[in-house]
Chain length 400, copies 2
């Protein structure tokens, strides 16, 4: 292998991970456990929702035509034919010249097509004075208007946020068919690494990457499986990756991907399968490996957590989204740069920035500093074709 | 009680829920279980991080001064005194005229203060030709430069996202002290409600609110405790709220808050404690109750899920954030309106919008339609002092 990396563009790397993402299975889960899962099948409304013409206010169910021209000065007068109970199976009917009280969410009686809000009516004995006209359909949700029986209420591929969970409940989906949570094996490799519970000696650092990558894949709706720290030993790493492949749908190996004699990850992937990418035109994050083994993706991340995190955001996020059969959910804001941000043409630079008052300030300090991760709110991506952005330019910030 | 609501502003409602938020306890949890928890105590670095001068690249550790003026034409020549192993306890030292190979993450030898990237050097036998000068500190993180021993690495109140989890691991916090997850009791009330597994009969609808509210509080880092559906019966509701107060830190009751004879929630709260707010100048979401009982917040939400969700976002979010002792985490984008959005002065309107191409389009259809929740990406808040926004105006969209 050559000493220098033959790098591919970030776009090529993203294409590669999307191509190798294994097709997910699906499973049924109870709706209350489905938050943030991805729908594997459309959710259909089992019946018309609502199943009846429903009032959206407290007021009087009327035939709208009978309120035409009503005003404070000349109200329409209707005889009130009692109240409709919530959940009542029979809302009765109204005949010309009459109305019925209906609470919010109650069913309209036959003959009614609108509801006069209680604030716009006055009760005088059995009579109701209507002070404002209502249009047909006003303050009413008609039967099936929200979701029609058999129609798609939520499309497959949707992530189930609280709003989708509420809609699924309304249409009777107490269980939903969702994409299986990908199991992502997480391995850290490096003779310098010690577990978090230990105090590093000279030359040693704690394994932050296992935690960082584990939390990242959890946030992205996947299940992390931890395989701990592996020394810089090709045979040992091969056993660890092999074991992770047995139990997981994809494997992330951090460290061991620099292009020198410690380049164990690429060697192991080559032995177990195929290295597709070795080096991305990305800063930080260049020494990244993309490969497959036994039909599963194996990604080699840089050993430094700050670099590894950029690769997680710029590349691995796309892999996980593809494995979940959903789009990458990325929140961005636009902000003006408070400083020039130079960049090297030919590589994509991810510059950490802090945000405030609509301004993005590049975070000072060496990019290898871990503290820059928690002092920044996001990154500005500088395309490979650009030599950077100038102070005052409006840029897109990818929120971490 | 009067027939009409004496409404307070949204700001007053938010102030009220913040005031009654019970102080949270704290607990220690393993770092791997701490994602999205809120730090109850600062996390300090136990030792200097890194604990040694550390290379951020593969290259040659040098005394920067010895590379001054180096160029392709006239390289600096240094004798290479071997390689430093990763995690090696002794990185040795260099003397004038010499350097040592150091891998990314490796410790610098004594006497070195910079690292020449391998790409900028050439090995000729035992000698290294350096083609570019390096500045002191270049490609090096000095001992303690990332986090100083005993210094705050993460402040209390911070939400532990993957980045914070990674930093906590790096500074040795295998357990963290976090705010206890508030337990939020969830009750739905209404004779019209049936469980999600049942098919609603005439006049009936499924209880979507329990799922919606449960998912919302889960998303906001709280633990939902479900108490099911309660009929419109004051004594039964009182028992349910009382039972929820026994087991939870706050209670959300949806339905039963319209200001008519079904106004059970306010009556129950008044019997068990105190009603502080009964009606908010908010559309949708007016029939909202804020009260306390046994020192715990009890919130009455509108029965309609679309209205309840607005109250969750506009008001309850602040309660949950206060209970977790953190700020409301709200993502917003700016977008131009594609249409006029009229509003009534004196109340805060939350208008659902869909987003695309930097434009916000009000979602058509009646606000009582549940499907508007999943057809919108967020809401535009129209302040009580405004009569609305005009087409083309740039507005802030609160992402759901």
């Amino acid at each position: 292998m050559s000493l220098f990396l033959e790098v591919v563009s970030v776009a090529e790397a993203v294409e590669a991970v999307r191509r190798i993402a294994p097709p997910p299975g699906c499973e049924d889960v109870p709706l209350e456990d489905a938050l943030y899962r991805v729908l594997a099948r459309d959710v259909l409304a089992d019946i018309d929702i609502p199943g009846f013409d429903r009032s959206t206010v407290d007021g009087y169910a009327v035939a709208a035509a009978e309120t035409t021209g009503a005003s404070e000065a000349i109200p329409a007068m209707l005889q009130c034919r009692g109240r409709i109970g919530m959940g009542s199976a029979d809302a009765g009917s109204i005949f010309p010249g009459s109305c019925r009280y209906v609470p919010t969410g109650g069913a309209l009686p036959a003959g009614a097509d609108a509801v006069v809000m209680i604030e716009h009516a006055e009760q005088i004995g059995d009579d109701i004075l209507v002070h404002r006209p209502v249009a047909p359909g006003e303050n009413v949700i008609f039967c099936g208007e929200d979701f029609g029986a058999g129609k798609v209420a939520l499309e497959r591929g949707r992530v189930l946020t609280p709003r989708e969970i509420g809609v699924a409940a309304a249409v009777g989906a107490d269980r939903v068919s969702v994409v299986k949570m990908p199991r992502i094996g997480i391995i850290s490799t490096g003779n310098e690494l010690v577990p978090v519970v230990e105090t590093p000696g000279p030359g040693e650092v704690r394994d932050a990457n296992s935690y960082l990558a584990g939390a990242f894949v959890t946030e992205r709706g996947c299940h992390p499986v931890y395989f701990g720290i592996v020394r810089d030993d090709r045979a040992v790493l091969k056993r660890a990756v092999s074991s992770a492949l047995d139990r997981c749908d994809a494997v992330l190996v951090s460290g061991g991907s620099s292009k020198d004699e410690r380049d164990n990850t690429a060697a192991v992937v080559a032995e177990l399968g195929e290295v597709l990418v070795h080096g991305i035109a990305l800063a930080p994050g260049k020494p990244t490996i993309i490969g497959t083994a036994r039909g599963k993706p194996v990604i080699g991340l840089p050993g430094h957590p700050a670099s590894a995190f950029v690769v997680l955001v710029a590349v691995v996020d796309h892999l996980l989204a593809a494995m979940r059969q959903t789009a990458v959910s990325r929140r961005t804001v636009r902000a003006r740069l408070t400083q020039n941000v130079p960049s090297t043409r030919g590589r994509e630079d991810y510059v950490r920035v802090s945000l405030g008052n609509g301004e993005a300030t590049p975070v000072f300090g060496k990019s290898g500093l871990l503290n820059t991760l928690v002092q920044s709110e996001g990154v500005v991506r500088i395309p490979a074709s650009s030599e950077g952005f100038e102070v005052g330019e409006e840029v897109e910030v990818i929120l971490w």
